[in-house]
Symmetry: C2
Subunit: 148 residues, 2 copies
């Protein structure tokens, strides 16, 4: 198939709040008060974890169907730790982002655990968001000044 293009655009509402549009959807990002925000929405890294969970859900149901079983409900827990020193400009000893991400999947299904282990390997391999987090992805930034 040919490539699919996805895009988001938006603008800052404050130093921590960003209002993004993805097609006809509005996505508001903020920071909790302890990180200087107004805590009016989930923060950027929570968006990443939610996107990863949503991606695993889609691929999980797709692969289950291919393997011949149904998942009636899929619970997903995702977590990760970040050291804020680099973000805050305090030091460069730690990386800026998540040091690692842990995901636990709890499917309600008639499939046995051997089948579920096989399923998990395929889901991991085919999940777009997991690929972008696990492996390197070129990210190109440019800046153009706006004269108001």
């Amino acid at each position: 198939m040919s490539n699919l293009r996805f895009s988001v655009n938006g603008e800052s509402n404050s130093t921590t709040q960003f209002v993004a549009k993805a097609r006809h959807f509005k996505l508001v990002v903020d920071e909790p008060e302890e990180l200087g925000g107004a805590d009016e929405a989930a923060n950027p890294v929570e968006y990443i974890l939610a996107g990863l969970a949503g991606c695993i859900n889609v691929v999980g149901h797709l692969v289950a169907k291919e393997l011949g079983f149904v998942i009636s409900k899929l619970n997903i827990d995702i977590s990760g730790e970040i050291n804020p020193d680099k973000l805050l400009g305090i030091s460069n000893h730690e990386r800026a982002g998540f040091q690692s991400i842990q995901i636990n999947l709890n499917p309600e299904t008639e499939a046995d655990i051997v089948t579920l282990s096989q399923w998990l390997k395929i889901v991991e391999d085919r999940c777009p968001v997991k690929d972008n987090l696990r492996n390197e992805t070129p990210v190109r930034l440019s800046v153009e000044k706006v004269y108001s």
Copy 2:
């Protein structure tokens, strides 16, 4: 500073819709109709782009303050392309996720373009989400069957 832990948990509402909770925020992820969903929310990869934009906004204002200028408004456009063949199990020729991500920043500010170029390099370096996408991040998955 010590590490900050972030987590999201939730469950599937359909084969494409996932309802996640991040602290007291509800984040709904879905797919457009052409990808088999009900199109009731942004899709997983749009969440990733929105999280990346939100992160750049936070770090952008922080670094501007350090460099001694103010950004009164920051517009951000982000886009990327995905080939869906691996996700759909059609072929393994292309990677599953975004092949690359392009970000264009349009700040309203009195800073000149030389200062903004310097600003951009620091923002890139310190943005947690950009780090996780640009570089490898360990992602560990486990599965545990739920008996309903």
